[in-house]
Every structure is written in structure tokens, then in C-alpha cells.
């Protein structure tokens, strides 16, 4: 009976579970053993889940084997017995076979893991939305947990009615739900001096995308009244780093939002629970997490994160500031260094990737196979929404010879993504932020894929 129950729960841990129950049984007086077993069965569901989950990091040889007995014309074994209880995982988990699909870090990049960054695994993602647990995380003072009942938002300065809002208040306003990409302006920054790490996750993993729900700031400002002289908004977080930035009023009154949900559920703590500012298409660092205050004034603040950081230092020694928007960008996600074409035979082949622009919709994506000499228009394979990830694919006959592949996007304003050399000529190597150069991958004859750049000889 134990065994049957166990199979429903999780296959690999039968032996461990029985041992565990037997061990506990030893310490139970004989007269209570019957009771214990009854309880034990219930207990075993939880325990098996925990043990099974723990063992996910070590899938057994049995679980990994491709058993011909499970392939046609045979009937697969998983169809021959009950599955596990439907609510074994009340929140839900990906398949145990997908447990390598996680955020990653580069430990030496930062002094600590509080003011640091983790990267989204685009090499293993499909579609345009990034699951909440895989959204990249960039923090300046670590992740904090806020009791939503203690959350307050102060709106003051050049407004007619300075207010303090609770989360309940915010949720009573008319809301909107929209899809947008979200990126750190340092996405791809490590490539500025030459190809950095051999990993799509690191080159382009400070980029994610979600469906956001919240209230447009212009709706709230209609309610409390914005004074004419207000030209700038200061947003400030309540977290240890109290990240703050200046936002021009034009953006506030266009599509800025205060969001409390992403992809249908409350924001994750890593993304600013319970409320963050959202400025579609703009630098992540402006989109204050754990928001506590919005102040309206006639001039900008020139705070650290918009002067000594997040400014583009050019070769002549002066820097561009208030860079805000992401210009058109794209990258091939398949193949990529993590997921190459090793073992693939020449023949009909598919290249796929993502494109995005902070200025509006993507209008074209082109793909090159020869390092940028010749370009071919790719097929757009997703919805095309402004300021959102757009998917593309390109199909061709691979002759099995080495390739230099890359993608190039153009947005509806007519802006086309630049080459590495064009970026170098315009910005040098020390500008760090908003690097949207065409990303080239080298595909070797054996299918290995490497991060390369094509520069003037």
C-alpha cells in the first residue's frame, strides 16, 4: 500500500521514504503504531514531496534513461498508473526535467550579492513573456520583504492635493493591463571592450518581459491635480538603497504606471513587491521598486544614478545623460553558446530570436549568415506590440559549413540597430550603458557556437 501511494506522489524516492517511515516507526510504541501508520500515510505525501523535490537535483539514471519500452508501439509506463495528487504542489513547479532552467549570476562581478544582478536564461525560454521566477534581478541594496499593510505611497510637491495612498487605495483606481519588455541599461555592457563571456544568458540576460497590471499615473494625477509648473517627478524606493531617479513629466503623462501585478500575480519581492513604478521602454533603474514616494517639481534632481552612474562616457571625455530609452535591439537565442548545434546534420535549419525597441513596435528583423555582408528578412512569429519582446524566425538550408550569424532589428520610427563597429565609432569602449550592437555568434562546422565580434581589421 505504501508503495502504491508513493508512486502517486513521486517515483524516485520509494526506498528512501520507506526507510524514513521505518526509522520513525521504531521510536513509536507498539500500541500507537497503527495510528502512526494512518497518520504516516498522510505524512508520507508531504515527506515524499519534500524528498522527491530534494532529489530533483540528482535525477536517477532510471529517470534519465530513454526506455524503448516507453516508445511506440509500446504504451508508456506513465500512462499505466495513477499520477500524483493534483495539488501536491499548491503553488506549482516546473517539470523536474527542467530544473536547469534558472537565473544565474557572475560572482566576481560585484563586491557582494546584495548590490548585484542575476540573469534571465533566454537560451531556454520560448515566447515573449518571462516567467516571474526567471525575471532578471538587479538590486542596489538586496531584496526586501514588505508587509503590504505597511506600504504607503506619498505623492507631494507640485500637486494640488498631497496624499498618502495605501495599496487598497491604489487598487481602487481604474487599472490597465499591458505587456512590456523590461531591461537594465547595462544589458550587454560586458561586451563593450570585446566579446565577454560565452553565454547568451550573461550577454543579454538583463532583459525580461511581462504582462503588468496597475494604474496609469495620469489617472492618479487627474484625481489629485498636477500643477502647471511641474516638469519633473522624483521617484524614491523604500528599500535599503532608496534608489531614486528624475522622470520628465512627458513620460509620466504618457504611459507611466504604478504596477502591483505581473503575469497575473502580485509582484515578486525581487521585482519590488508590493508596488513599483513602470516606465515602458525605459531603463530599469528608473522604475523604482518598493516605491514609497513621488514628488513633483520644476527641475530634475541629478542624483547619483543619473550622473556618476547610468551616463554614457564618450571617448572625448564628456558624457551623455538622461539616456532613458532603449533603442531597437535584438539577439538570436537559438542557436547560442549554451545551446549550439552539436550533433546536428546539415539540411533545413531554423534560427530564432527576440527583438525589442523602447520607442515602439518592431517593424523588421533581418538575419545574416555571413557576418553582416548579406542580410535576409526574418519572419515575425509573435504578436507585434509596442515596447515589447517580438519573436522572429529564419529558415534556411545549412550546408554544414561554419557561419557567422547575427540579427538586426528596425523599429517603426525607422531606427535600425547598429553594428559593433558603428557603436565603437560613435561611443568608444567605455560608455557601458545602452549598448545595442548587433550580436554575432560564430557557428563552427561541429555545431559549437561562440560569442564573437566583427571589427575593422
Amino acid at each position: 500500500m505504501m508503495k502504491e501511494k508513493d508512486q502517486k506522489v513521486h517515483s524516485p524516492t520509494t526506498a528512501e521514504l520507506i526507510q524514513e517511515v521505518a526509522k520513525q516507526l521504531e521510536s513509536v510504541p507498539k500500541e500507537e503504531r497503527r495510528d502512526f501508520l494512518r497518520r504516516g500515510v498522510a505524512f508520507s505525501v508531504g515527506a515524499a514531496a519534500a524528498l522527491g523535490a530534494g532529489s530533483m537535483t540528482k535525477l536517477s539514471a532510471e529517470e534519465c534513461k530513454v526506455d524503448p519500452e516507453n516508445l511506440p508501439p509500446h504504451v508508456a509506463k506513465w500512462g499505466k498508473a495513477w499520477g500524483r495528487d493534483i495539488n501536491t504542489y499548491p503553488y506549482g513547479l516546473p517539470s523536474k526535467y527542467e530544473s536547469n532552467v534558472v537565473r544565474r549570476i557572475v560572482p566576481w562581478l560585484t563586491a557582494d550579492q546584495k548590490a548585484s544582478v542575476s540573469f534571465t536564461p533566454w537560451q531556454d525560454l520560448e515566447g515573449c513573456i518571462v516567467p516571474n521566477g526567471l525575471h532578471f534581478v538587479r538590486c542596489h541594496g538586496g531584496v526586501v520583504d514588505i508587509n503590504p499593510k505597511e506600504w504607503r505611497l506619498m505623492i507631494h510637491g507640485l500637486v494640488e492635493r498631497p496624499v498618502i495612498l495605501t495599496l487598497e487605495d491604489l487598487k481602487r483606481y481604474p487599472s490597465v493591463t499591458k505587456k512590456y519588455f523590461f531591461s537594465c541599461p547595462a544589458n550587454s555592457a560586458m561586451e563593450a571592450r570585446g566579446p565577454g563571456l560565452n553565454s547568451l544568458q550573461v550577454t543579454h540576460g538583463m532583459l525580461s518581459a511581462s504582462e503588468y497590471t496597475g494604474v496609469e499615473l495620469k489617472t492618479i494625477l487627474e484625481d489629485i491635480g498636477l500643477k502647471k509648473e511641474a516638469k519633473w517627478m522624483f521617484s524614491e524606493g523604500s528599500d535599503p538603497a532608496s534608489v531614486g531617479r528624475s522622470v520628465p513629466i512627458e513620460k509620466v503623462l504618457d504611459d507611466a504606471m504604478l504596477v502591483y501585478a505581473m503575469n497575473g500575480e502580485a509582484l515578486r519581492p525581487e521585482n519590488g513587491y508590493p508596488v513599483r513604478l513602470l516606465l515602458p521602454g525605459w531603463e530599469g533603474v528608473l522604475q523604482t521598486k518598493w516605491l514609497r514616494r513621488l514628488k513633483f517639481d520644476d527641475k530634475a534632481w541629478w542624483v547619483r544614478e543619473e550622473t556618476t552612474k547610468y551616463t554614457e562616457l564618450l571617448p572625448d571625455g564628456h558624457a551623455k545623460m538622461f539616456n532613458w530609452v532603449f533603442e531597437s535591439d535584438s539577439v538570436i537565442t537559438s542557436p547560442c553558446p549554451e545551446r549550439g548545434w552539436e550533433g546536428r546534420k546539415p539540411g533545413p535549419t531554423k534560427i530564432s530570436g527576440i527583438a525589442w525597441s523602447g520607442r515602439g513596435k518592431i517593424s523588421h528583423v533581418d538575419v545574416t549568415l555571413d557576418g553582416g555582408k548579406t542580410w535576409h528578412e526574418a519572419k515575425i512569429t509573435s504578436e507585434v506590440l509596442p515596447k515589447m519582446i517580438t519573436r522572429f524566425e529564419f529558415y534556411f538550408d545549412w550546408d554544414g559549413k561554419p557561419l557567422l550569424i547575427g540579427s538586426r532589428s528596425t523599429d517603426e520610427t525607422g531606427y535600425t540597430q547598429p553594428t559593433e563597429q558603428e557603436i565603437l565609432d560613435a561611443k568608444g569602449t567605455e560608455f557601458i550603458y545602452h549598448r545595442n550592437a548587433i550580436q554575432m555568434w560564430e557557428v563552427k562546422a561541429n555545431g559549437e557556437v561562440n560569442n564573437v565580434q566583427i571589427r575593422r581589421a
Binding site: 546584495k114 555592457a189 484625481d223 512627458e250 547619483r304 556618476t308 568608444g428 567605455e430 564573437v452 565580434q453
Partner: protein, 387 residues
């Protein structure tokens, strides 16, 4: 990966760039500076304009889309409670370049140096030189045109003295965000003192005079300060991108004039968890220890110090900043000579110093969220590593 490689690959995270690779000679020669310095009193790109196709273009060059505006009669919902003057005063702490927002308070530079030594030097160094990967605050003059052209060349050194345009907004930043592990504990007086010390270290003159040890720093003084790089910034005209490509389809580049540049020093293996694993988990696990188990069945809160692994992890996040490097004269973990005399004093003394602070050691290493038991467990861990 060797320390040498890590050093070569690492810049402060602010820089987030690898110095690993060679750039072709001559391609990024310093050009003569030619720009209109940004003025905090005037932002020239306000407003929405109409392009040739009749589309509305926003300050950022994006196309403005009319979204269905929910028209409220002003004050119709009247949500929220009025913010009182007292409530606003408590949170209204931002400071603009013109000094608007600077609070009352003052401190001499000499006293400021003391505050800096006790609160900032553990990461920024006694003289703002930076410890480990933490930001350098002093120096860097004349380096802004440096372009890292080879693996050996350093790029620009961006500090308060060399790069920051205005010191005044830093009052808000230091007050709210520093010191990193225990922010918002400095008094207004202390922030003035720290800023004074940093200005002195950067040899900033005010009214043509050096900043002396007994110079008193307050709001009136800060309003007179001009940093050397005040005119070093230009507003980016986002409606006219300064780097862009052409949508060329054929014969776009002469490949004979180009070269393929590969990764110079490959640090890919340092990615955590390892990146070169199969997508499907089959006997090659990449989870960091707990993995799903941690999500599934949260471990009970650790009793006492929480065991060796917990102590090691707490050490890393709260103590390693100084005790890995010897910053602020901290004994380096594993250096038996430095520890022998300390260990002799007995654990009671070590615990007390660690919990209450001692010389350059801030209470609990600056992380007041640690319990006394956790601090003791970390001390035990450090002592065991240093015997």
C-alpha cells in the same frame, strides 16, 4: 580561474565591463570635445513634437499612443488621505543640485574624517581609494578620455572628484543608501562631515581656498561647492539618436577589411550555477544545493547560529568585505599570525568585540540584522579557519 584572470576581468560593477579583449588600434581615438554642457536649470527637450508623418513623438523619441484615458472629474475619487506637513517632512529628504532640500546640520572636516573611518572606510578605504570591488571615491583626474584598448590598459576612473557633476544631491544619497549594510543611520551632521572629508580628499577648492581640517561643512557651504566635472555632461537628444545603423541588405561590408574577434580570456566557467549544462536535468545537476527543496519545504528557522554553512554564508555577506582583504585593519581570515593573539584573548572577548564593535570593527560588522548568536557562530567559524 586564477586571481590574475579574475583581476583582469573585473571592474567595479558600475563599470560592468570586461577589460579582456584587444580593440583594433586607432578606432576610438579621443576626439576633441564639442558639446553643449547640460544645465540643471534648463532641460531643452521638454514637450511632445509632431513628425513628418504626423505622429506625436515624445521626449525619448518614442511614438506617443493615445491610450483610453479614464476621465475623472478632478477630485472625483479623492482616494488616499491628505499627507500632513509632519508626514511630508519625515520623507521629503531629496536634495537638488541647487542645494534645495539640504537640511540643517554641520560638522568639521576633521570630525567627518573620523565618521568616515568608522562607517565608510571598511569598503571605500581610509582615503577613499576603494577596497576590493567597492567604488573608488578619490582621484581619477584626467582619466575620463581613457579607452581600454588592450587587456592591460585601464579605462577611466570615475570618482566624485573626476566625474560627478554636483555634490549636493549626494547628501540625499549618502543619507539614504550608505553605509550599504546599515543605511539611514547617519545623522545630518555626520553626512555633512563625510562630504567635507571627501571634498578635501579630492582637493576641491571653494572660493579659491583649500578645505582645511577645521572647515565647517553645512548647507551654506555646500551650496558654494563646484566640482571639476560640472560641465562634463550633455543631455542626450533622444529624438536624434547618435548611434544607429542602416538597413542595408547586400554587400553591406567588405569582409576583407574586417576581422573576427574571439573571447580573449574565457571566464564563462565562473557563471553560477554553471551555464554549460544540458537544458534537461539528467544526472548533471546545477541547482545550488537547496534548489527546489528550499521552495518546497522551507527549512525551519535556524536555532542559535544556524550551523557552519549558515555561518559561512553570513560571513560572506556581512564580514568578508573587510576580513577577506584586511580593510580597516581587520585581521584576515586564515592568517594564523594575525589571529593568534586575538584567539588568546578568549572567545568571550572576541564575541563582545564582534557584537559591540572594537576599533575599526563596527558592531556586528555593520549588519545589525544579525542576532548575537549568529555573530557568535560567525566568530567561531572565523576562529576555526584561522587556527
Amino acid at each position: 580561474m586564477s586571481k590574475f584572470v579574475v583581476r583582469n576581468l573585473t571592474l567595479a560593477f558600475g563599470a560592468l565591463a570586461l577589460s579582456a579583449s584587444a580593440v583594433c588600434a586607432g578606432e576610438t581615438m579621443a576626439k576633441k570635445a564639442h558639446y553643449t554642457p547640460a544645465d540643471p536649470n534648463h532641460y531643452p527637450y521638454h514637450g511632445i513634437v509632431t513628425d513628418k508623418q504626423g505622429r506625436k513623438i515624445n521626449v525619448d523619441g518614442s511614438i506617443v499612443r493615445e491610450t483610453a484615458v479614464v476621465h475623472l472629474k478632478k477630485g472625483q475619487l479623492k482616494l488616499g488621505k491628505p499627507a500632513s506637513a509632519e508626514e511630508i517632512a519625515g520623507w521629503n529628504v531629496d536634495v537638488r543640485p541647487d542645494g534645495k532640500g539640504l537640511p540643517p546640520g554641520k560638522m568639521t572636516v576633521e570630525e567627518g574624517a573620523e565618521v568616515f573611518a568608522n562607517n565608510c572606510a571598511m569598503c571605500h578605504g581610509d582615503f577613499g581609494e576603494g577596497v576590493g570591488k567597492n567604488p573608488v571615491l578619490v582621484g581619477g583626474k584626467g582619466t575620463l578620455t581613457h579607452q581600454a584598448k588592450t587587456g592591460g590598459d585601464e579605462g577611466p576612473e570615475k570618482t566624485l572628484g573626476s566625474y560627478a557633476p554636483y555634490i549636493q544631491p549626494f547628501f540625499w544619497y549618502i543619507k539614504m543608501a550608505m553605509p550599504l549594510p546599515t543605511p539611514k543611520k547617519l545623522t545630518n551632521d555626520e553626512v555633512y562631515g563625510i562630504i567635507g572629508y571627501l571634498l578635501q580628499l579630492n582637493e576641491i577648492q571653494v572660493d579659491g581656498k583649500d578645505i582645511e581640517d577645521d572647515t565647517v561643512i553645512d548647507a551654506a557651504f555646500l551650496k558654494k561647492v563646484h566640482l571639476p566635472n560640472e560641465k562634463g555632461f550633455e543631455y542626450n537628444d533622444l529624438r536624434h539618436p547618435y548611434s544607429h545603423g542602416k538597413r542595408c541588405m547586400k554587400d553591406c561590408v567588405d569582409m576583407k577589411k574586417m576581422k573576427v574577434m574571439h573571447i580573449a580570456i574565457d571566464a564563462t566557467e565562473s557563471i553560477t550555477p554553471p551555464v554549460k549544462v544540458p537544458r534537461y536535468n539528467c544526472g548533471k545537476p546545477i541547482m545550488n544545493g537547496e534548489g527546489f527543496a528550499a521552495i518546497e519545504a522551507p527549512l525551519p528557522a535556524p536555532k542559535g547560529g544556524g550551523g557552519d554553512a549558515a555561518a559561512a554564508s553570513a560571513y560572506k555577506s556581512s564580514c568578508a568585505g573587510c576580513h577577506d582583504s584586511g580593510a580597516a585593519s581587520a585581521p584576515v581570515i586564515g592568517h594564523k599570525d594575525e589571529w593568534a593573539a586575538r584567539i588568546k584573548q578568549g572567545e568571550k572577548t572576541l564575541y563582545e568585540h564582534a557584537i559591540k564593535g572594537f576599533n575599526g570593527m563596527p558592531p556586528k560588522g555593520g549588519n545589525m540584522s544579525l542576532s548575537d548568536d549568529q555573530v557568535k557562530a560567525i566568530v567561531d567559524y572565523m576562529v576555526n579557519k584561522s587556527k
